[in-house]
């Protein structure tokens, strides 16, 4: 055991001598290739001395004594353990230092960068060797032991830290503590292509290897001169070459290619970053050109805009308001909110006109510094209040639309040097009052819809305020629009029993409804105007109504059928049941409720496969001269007029005569939905049973999307008179 120990000790000694020799004369020696391989093992081996030295210190200072005193009688071998730990530490330390020296001979490591690492590393090797050599002495003297431990540890920590800085970069350890504020504060308008777009990429993705401390390939990319100088393989770019030279060649090599940059395993360039480098070179690799000098369609500009913040995001530098002040001023009708998290700027919106007063506005003086958006839309703001508002010097956006200002005091706002947007819509401000706004340096947008400014004035104003975009909004008097149809308010009277009143409605103020009851088109002059009282009817009627109003195109005609309910059959039987999807009860034919365009409403009966054959029974014989069937036509949904309609009558189901047949005209093209009542008039006849037949279309016409298919027949009400 002792032999091994001695051998190891001697080896360590010899290695230390070699180390000393190399440190002193190293610069004049060339490292053979084989040793380069050994040198590259430095990052592997260096962890051993670190751990072993820590362990040695802990062992020597804290553990060895305690263990030594426990086992009575037995030879205590704890010093032996301590020896071995210390010796291995010394051996690995000197080996690491040697390897480090070999590694430092390779290209790319600048002497000044590794200076401290080199000397501390050497110190660790010597210190640990010395400690081992005088370990027995150190074990006797408490102070000496502590000194040895502390100095070795200090050396190893320092050397380790220096080494890590070479590999990972200077700020690696402290980076997490530095507040990350890398978000570019430069706006796209001011940004310089190189400084704000290209350099950050080089810093992030290239400079960890190409810096003053570690210049791989003799290339440093920190300054303009260094970039222009290039590395050992020559200049970085050649603007005349199709591939723009070395840098782009390397970037574009496949990742598994050895010369690909950045090397595999290091953070790679994103597509955008590659594109920025490429287009910067293509644009002439200028170090001073600004983004704003590029054309809008330039790829580089488009990329820049995506990366840099747009110029309209403002950074506010004033101090935040006192939180308690904000809390005190904030309530449900005066809502104060910061523009965003951590922003000192405040936005204030007023809600609820009845809660507004001039005091509520002037109370905001407590936050006048921070107030940048003020919304007073529809609040009863008076002319004198503008003086208060003028005191809010940092305002960017002010909404005064539909307030009660007259414009007389508009000049007050001139003191708002930062105001960008001003809305005055819905106020009676005039041309003359607005001219003062020319003196507002920051004003960009002005809303002037519905104000005292005439269209002629507006054109003049636009030329007087060329830097301000004026939004004049929509002018109703320039447009002729069509009125909407009158609305039947009481549609439950479509089927009525006794005399009834039709009431109509139109929502547009001042619209006049004119109507006819004889089926003719309503006329704006001759037809009667609808009055509050409604229209009285006592028999089945077709109403046509139309709305008129000055300045509008008259409405489409509302056509509505009103039916006087007649006889109601006591029972109804269908020879073949209606389609189960659209099958109400037989009573539906007499329920007084008319169906509309919604054929699924349950108010309609539908037949497709089978014809409708409804047999109506009357307990007492009745005299009939007119039958009306109300049917639906909805071509898009395959609901067509019937092929043929028949009315049969007689004393019993087996004894029926055909009273009348109707063949409805089939539509010849696409048409909107309509309902139609088919009237069957015939000489009066006494009957106990009526049979109504409706045959659906067997083949849809060729122009129909469903040509050749069967059509539907829909019916909802029957009137018998």
């Amino acid at each position: 055991m002792n032999k091994t120990k001695n051998l190891t000790y001697n080896t360590t000694f010899a290695l230390n001598c070699l180390l000393l020799f190399l440190v002193v004369f190293g610069n004049t020696l060339a490292v053979p290739i084989g040793l380069q391989f050994v040198g590259r093992m430095h990052p592997l081996l260096l962890h051993f001395p670190i751990v072993l030295l820590v362990l040695a210190a802990v062992w020597e200072v804290f553990l060895s004594k305690k263990l030594g005193n426990t086992e009575g009688g037995q030879p205590i071998t704890n010093n032996e353990i301590g020896d071995w730990i210390l010796l291995s530490a010394a051996l690995t330390a000197v080996l690491s230092a040697l390897m480090g020296l070999f590694l430092s001979q390779e290209e790319g490591y600048k002497a000044e960068a590794i200076f401290w690492h080199k000397w501390t590393g050497v110190a660790v090797a010597f210190l640990s060797f010395v400690w081992y050599s005088f370990r027995q002495t150190a074990r006797q003297a408490k102070g000496l032991r502590a000194l040895a431990s502390v100095s070795s540890l200090a050396a190893v920590v320092w050397a380790g830290h220096q080494g890590a800085n070479i590999t990972h970069g200077e700020s690696f350890l402290t980076a997490p503590f530095q507040t990350k504020n890398e978000e570019k504060q430069v706006s796209a308008d001011e940004a310089v292509i190189f400084t704000d777009l290209v350099k950050p990429i080089l810093e992030k993705k290239c400079m960890s290897c190409h810096n003053t401390q570690k210049a791989k390939g003799d290339l440093i990319m920190e300054t303009q001169e260094q970039l222009l100088r290039g590395g050992k393989n020559g200049k970085l770019w050649d603007l005349a070459a199709a591939d723009l030279g070395l840098m782009m060649q390397r970037v574009h090599l496949p990742l598994d290619e050895k010369k690909h940059m950045p090397p595999a395993g290091k953070p790679q360039l994103t597509t955008e970053e590659t594109a920025i480098l490429f287009h910067w070179l293509k644009n002439g690799a200028s170090f001073t050109k600004k983004v704003s000098e590029l054309a809008d369609t330039d790829t580089l500009k488009i990329l820049a805009k995506a990366i840099l913040k747009s110029s309209d995001t403002e950074v506010y530098t004033f101090k935040a308001a006192d939180e308690s002040t904000i809390k005190k001023l904030n309530n449900n009708y005066r809502v104060i909110s910061p523009l965003s998290l951590n922003s000192p700027a405040l936005s204030v919106e007023f809600f609820g006109a009845s809660f507004f007063s001039s005091e509520k506005l002037s109370e905001l003086k407590g936050i006048k510094e921070q107030l940048v958006h003020l919304g007073l839309n529809k609040m009863p703001v008076k002319d004198e209040d503008l003086k208060t508002i003028a005191g809010f010097g940092n305002l960017r956006k002010l909404n005064l639309s539909f307030t009660q200002i007259t414009g007389a005091t508009l000049g007050e706002l001139k003191s708002l040097k930062h105001l960008r947007q001003l809305s005055l819509s819905g106020t009676p401000v005039t041309m003359a009052q607005l001219e003062d706004l020319a003196q507002m340096p920051a004003l960009k947008t002005l809303q002037l819809w519905n104000t005292g400014v005439s269209p002629q004035d507006l054109a003049a104003l636009k030329s007087k305020l060329p830097n301000i975009s004026i939004e004049s909004g929509f002018r109703g008097d320039t447009v002729v629009a069509r009125l909407s149809m009158p609305i039947l308010e009481n549609d439950e009277v479509q089927v009525f029993k006794e005399d009834t009143k039709i009431t109509l409605k139109h929502y547009v103020k001042g619209a006049v409804i004119r109507y006819t009851l004889d089926g003719t088109a309503p006329d704006s002059l001759k037809s009667p105007a609808y009055t509050e009282g409604g229209i009285l009817i006592n028999q089945s009627t077709t109403l046509k109504a139309k709305a008129f109003l000055e300045g509008w195109v008259s409405s489409d005609t509302l056509t509505q059928q009103f039916y006087k309910a007649g006889l109601v059959a006591d029972s109804v039987r269908f020879v073949q049941a209606p389609n189960p999807q659209y099958s109400g009860k037989g009573k539906m034919l007499f329920d007084g409720k008319m169906g509309d365009s919604n054929f699924k409403s349950g108010k309609w009966l539908g037949f497709k496969e089978n014809p409708m054959e409804a047999v109506l029974y009357f307990n007492q014989p009745v005299t009939v001269s007119k039958v009306t069937m109300n049917t639906l036509v909805l071509i898009g949904s395959y609901i067509m007029p019937a092929q043929e309609l028949q009315v049969w009558g007689g004393s019993s189901p087996s004894n029926l005569t055909l009273l009348k047949t109707l063949t409805p005209t089939q539509p010849t093209k696409e048409a909107p939905f309509y309902t139609k009542g088919f009237e069957f008039s015939f000489p009066a006849k006494q009957v106990s049973v009526l049979k109504l037949v409706g045959k659906s279309v067997q083949k849809l016409p060729p122009w129909h999307p469903g040509k050749g298919d069967k059509g539907w027949f829909f019916i909802d009400e029957i009137f018998i008179n």
Binding site: P176, S337, N377, L422, N450, E471, G476
Partner: protein
């Protein structure tokens, strides 16, 4: 039992207690390893109720065109389809795309060119069909995204995906996330309002699960406004109860609820108290906002006279403007009737008559009031429609089935970059450049509202959820 109540009262249970105990120091160390800037940056401490960074827009109005409008008849101009009208869709284009049960069994997939005429409009040369005359006037304000795509192929899952970020209906709605992330602006109105209307075309249902708060606090639920005299149901005082009585009653109820909260500690009790209070304030605020009778005649001409008829799309657009103007964070409209499986040209004509003018009017109206730059307006359906015909094809008429691979929506206002984004192939079937997934759409919309979609999270059932869940990236190309 008492123990459970006590624990609940402390608002802490065994699992929470143990896990927080165990996590303590360990998580700090681990966390700093995993997230290097855990100690360095303050911005991780996300406070619900504030934008993460300066927002472009403060409010959203989402004009949802329920049933899926045909992009090929409105925005995505494909003359190739007219050229090849009636020919079969090449398999190389379809690439095995799954089809709905409605056309999967069709023997042929004849291409159907649009019957409508297209023209280019505005600064960006945006193609629009003749069905959108009013939209063409505001086209300079629109960002038309032609390459949105989704994963679902049927209405309900697709709609649910758009509205909640997941196809199953148990997640919080888009509006609820915004209400949670940004809080309400006007405390007298709900932060999230829903308005429904129906066109004459083939319709598809909408259900309240689309505006659910999911696992978020129920104060973030969407409030449906109905047409007619009572826009918000049960808001008015019953007969013989006046405002003072109501106030006294609410105070007493709040007191009792407060007691109950002290005892049980259920956060839902707090939510309830807040909702009662808001309802009380809404009694004044809602009639003020929803009264459209006093709108000037210019506004009626702008939106069209239908805007005075309660329940129409035009009326809802007008109402949406009024709500938004009054600080409602998210106004969600649904307009039904776009599901053109058959007779599409006829139906879409009607749908556009109902919606084109009012949609455009909303943009104009917001702009003239100085509100467009702070409001994000979104128009679009849940998926697109196929380039081939469903059912019989004629020169004038065709039907189109569901198409999830590409369709068109538009956005306008707050922070949106006007123009046309993305391109589809000449068949209008596949995306050729700049695809925008539904998750990307959500991420971008949140971004415009000043929210980082990866940081707007809520912990539920042991993990953090986002509107975009585990996907989505901000589409920089549509952000101004």
């Amino acid at each position: 039992m008492e123990k459970e109540i006590l624990e609940h009262g402390l608002n802490i249970n065994r699992r929470k207690f143990l896990s927080s105990l165990g996590i303590g120091i360990g998580s700090a160390a681990l966390g700093s390893l995993l997230i290097p800037d855990l100690f360095g940056s303050k911005e991780d401490a996300i406070m619900a109720g504030l934008p993460h960074f300066a927002p472009k827009a403060k409010r959203v109005i989402y004009l949802f065109q329920n049933g899926a409008p045909s992009q090929l008849d409105l925005f995505d101009y494909k003359p190739k389809l007219n050229e090849m009208h009636g020919q079969d869709l090449p398999a190389s284009i379809r690439m095995g795309q799954r089809l709905t049960g409605m056309t999967a069994n069709q023997a042929k997939f004849p291409l159907a060119g649009s019957v409508f005429k297209f023209k280019q409009y505005g600064e960006h040369g945006t193609w629009l069909s003749e069905l959108l005359p009013h939209t063409s006037k505001i086209v300079n304000d629109l960002c038309v995204i032609k390459t949105i795509h989704t994963e679902a192929i049927n209405h309900d899952p697709a709609l649910t995906f758009f509205q909640t970020g997941a196809q199953v209906g148990n997640r919080p709605s888009f509006g609820s996330w915004l209400s949670y992330g940004l809080g309400s602006e006007n405390k007298n109105l709900p932060a999230f309002c829903v308005l429904l209307s129906k066109g004459k075309g083939n319709g598809q249902g909408v259900y309240s699960k689309l505006w659910t708060n999911g696992f978020l606090d129920s104060t973030h639920q969407g409030v449906q406004f109905s047409s007619g005299d009572n826009p918000v149901l049960y808001l008015n005082n019953p007969d013989a109860i006046d405002k003072e009585d109501r106030r006294r009653m609410l105070d007493k109820v709040a007191e009792l609820n407060g007691e109950s909260y002290k005892e049980f500690g259920d956060p839902e009790i707090q939510a309830k108290i807040q909702q009662y209070e808001m309802a009380f304030r809404m009694q004044t605020a809602v009639p003020e906002v929803t009264d459209i009778r006093n709108e000037p005649k210019d506004i009626i001409k702008l939106y069209g006279p239908d805007c005075l008829i309660p329940g129409t799309y035009a009326a809802n657009c007008l109402l949406a403007r009024k709500l938004s103007e009054n600080g409602v964070r998210f106004v969600q409209l649904y307009h039904q009737g776009w599901d053109g499986h058959g007779n599409l040209p006829g139906e879409i004509r009607g749908q556009c008559m109902d919606t084109d003018q009012a949609s455009a009017a909303l943009i104009t109206d917001l702009k003239q009031r100085g509100l467009l730059d702070e409001t994000l307006v979104i128009w679009g359906g849940e998926f697109g429609r196929t380039n081939y015909c469903q059912g019989p094809l004629t020169k004038e008429s065709y039907g189109r089935d569901h198409h999830p691979r590409c369709f068109t929506i538009w956005m306008a206002g707050g922070g949106v970059k006007p123009g046309v984004y993305g391109e589809t192939d000449e068949f209008g079937y596949n995306i050729t450049e700049n695809p925008v997934h539904v998750n990307d759409f959500h991420a971008t919309a949140l971004h415009l509202m000043g929210l980082d979609h990866e940081k707007l999270t809520y912990k539920h059932l042991g993990r953090r959820y986002r509107l975009t869940d585990v996907a989505g990236k901000v589409v920089k190309g549509i952000v101004a």
